[in-house]
Amino acid sequence: MRKYIFRRVLASLLTLFVVITLTFFMMRAIPGGPFTDEKAIPSFVLEKMMSRYGLNDPLYVQYGRYLLNVMRLDLGPSYRYEGMTVNELIAGSFPISAVVGSIALVLALIVGIPAGIISALKRGKLPDRFAMILATLGVTVPNFVVAAALVYIFAWRLGWVTVGFWEGISTAILPAVTLAGYPAAFISRLVRSSMLEVLQQDYIRTAYSKGLSGRAVVYVHALKNAVIPVITYIAPLTAGILTGSFVVEQVYGVPGLGTFFVTSITNRDYTTIMGVTIFYSALLVSFNLIADVCLAFIDPRIKLK
């Protein structure tokens, strides 16, 4: 078990290393320097900025320095927000996204898993049909469409909520619901198909042959096996919530990291783009790691591999 976790941690670090390297060289591959499109900068100012950010050093020196800094959890200064570090910028906006994202993830799990179970147990019947139509819509309708529709209905038509201002939890609900849509739909489809698969297994028949009630069979014997693929998908689902936040935050006017990321793209704030990318990747890799560890606890066969 310890060895397994150790290996997973190692693999995560390797992934992060690849991500940092990729990000660094991709940013350097952009034609022109980071200040190119500012026409009015006099050349001596530009020169000063270049040397201040160490951009005149050879590429490998810059790369080594960046790598070291990232290892010290320092993502460097922002090129656009004078005097601010990328760390500070992330620290300022990420908590808001984290609140919205966590609500969304919890919502997705508590809606998606029961919906998938009920669907599987009532296969082909009305609840199944209904849930699967909803789920199919959930995975197909883009989240910015859902966001816009909800804003139109709840803010403009009904006037129940305001959008565009961040007022804490109350303004988090609609964005969270929007973000939860896709993962909830995805989870319910996943749980349904994996539940159907598990219910056909021999050990389910064994469980019935012991005189267990349908409920005990489903919730103890089947569910524990059926959630295994769901856990494997936790990381991609989190990724969905994160990237979803780019547009959803924009539509709702939530001043989170998603909005901030999109703004830094439009501003060509390269260090910030780089820093946020690495931050997101680290987040995802951690979720992957957590999922792998959970999996090892639920599925005893994993320790063997």
Partner: protein, 308 residues
């Protein structure tokens, strides 16, 4: 009983009637697909969502099973072990959990953990106190079948149904499992229904034997009667295709052809297409049951050949 599939109704078991006495071992033999599992699964009430009992009755201890709560019977008074030990145990639950679950379900009086350990030891999984904490993937196929047996017998059932318990195992392991089952049966005095497609397996264990084909009973009788006064051509065919330990040099003769398609069951005798003695009448009319003794009967037109 029938399975209702997208291709139509599969009449898996037809007019099958049998009984098991207290402390008796009944063997059910037949090729795969002959409806052996379907027959016993309907006894257990475990035919699955596609299966339906379309007629008939099942008596247990003199009571109609329909009037009993099957959930209290299953695992307590009637238990079952299955063909494939590799897939019959839940991979994510410990052996301890899976053993003790039955005891808890049926309100075992006494120490649950001690009972689980005792059963595990009795089926030869040692050291029980260590191995009970492990998960199914840590055991070999034979060991898993032993665990299945321990699990089935843990509540001291009156009837044990073993559906091809050794088919998926190596020959040497097969013999060990059969010996174990025999010993446990002797000790506990329970009744056993042993299903197999291998007459060799049944020869050493069954008191009485039921021969099934195409969802119907071809012949039934005591072990002596089936082996020494074989009446049905299908049983004869089966015997010829099994190695005989007394005369190992004898040539084995396989039964040619395939079992009938139970989606469109034949009008007459299900065995007609493969029977060396087949007659015109076998094509269109079901043979009647002919009794040769109190215990021995078979269904074949040959028996009526001379009767005018």
């Amino acid at each position: 009983m029938s399975f209702f599939t997208s291709a139509g109704e599969v009449k898996a078991v037809n007019d099958v009637s049998f009984h098991v006495g207290k402390g008796e071992v009944l063997g059910i033999v037949g090729e795969s697909g002959s409806g052996k599992s379907a027959a016993v699964l309907s006894v257990m009430g475990l035919k699955g969502s596609a299966g339906k009992i379309t007629g008939g009755s099942i008596l247990f201890d003199g009571q109609d099973m329909n009037s009993l709560n099957m959930r209290d019977i299953r695992g307590r008074r009637i238990s079952m072990i299955f063909q494939d030990p590799m897939t019959s145990l839940n991979p994510v639950l410990s052996v301890k959990y899976q053993l003790e679950e039955s005891l808890r379900r049926h309100h075992w009086k006494g120490d649950i953990h001690a009972r689980a350990l005792e059963m595990l030891e009795r089926v030869g999984i040692v050291p029980a106190s260590e191995r009970i904490m492990q998960y199914p993937h840590e055991f070999s196929g034979g060991q898993r079948q032993r665990i299945m047996i321990a699990m089935a017998m843990i509540c001291e059932p009156e009837l044990l149904i073993a559906d091809e318990p050794t088919t998926a195992l190596d020959v040497t392991v097969q013999a060990q499992i059969l010996d174990l089952m025999k010993a446990l049966q002797k000790d506990s005095g329970m009744s056993v229904i042993l299903i197999t497609h291998d007459l060799g397996v049944i020869a050493g264990m069954a008191d009485r034997i039921l021969v099934m084909y195409g969802g119907q009973v071809m012949e039934q009788g005591t072990r002596r009667e089936i082996f020494y006064s074989t009446a049905h051509p299908y049983t004869q065919g089966l015997l010829r295709s099994v190695p005989n330990p007394d005369s190992p040099k004898e040539r084995l003769i396989p039964i040619e052809g395939q079992p009938p398609d139970l989606l469109n069951p034949p009008e007459g005798c299900p065995y007609v297409k493969r029977c060396p003695e087949a007659m015109r009448i076998c094509l269109h009319r079901k043979p009647e049951n002919i009794s040769l003794s109190d215990t021995h009967s078979y269904s074949c037109w040959l028996g009526q050949k001379g009767v005018k």
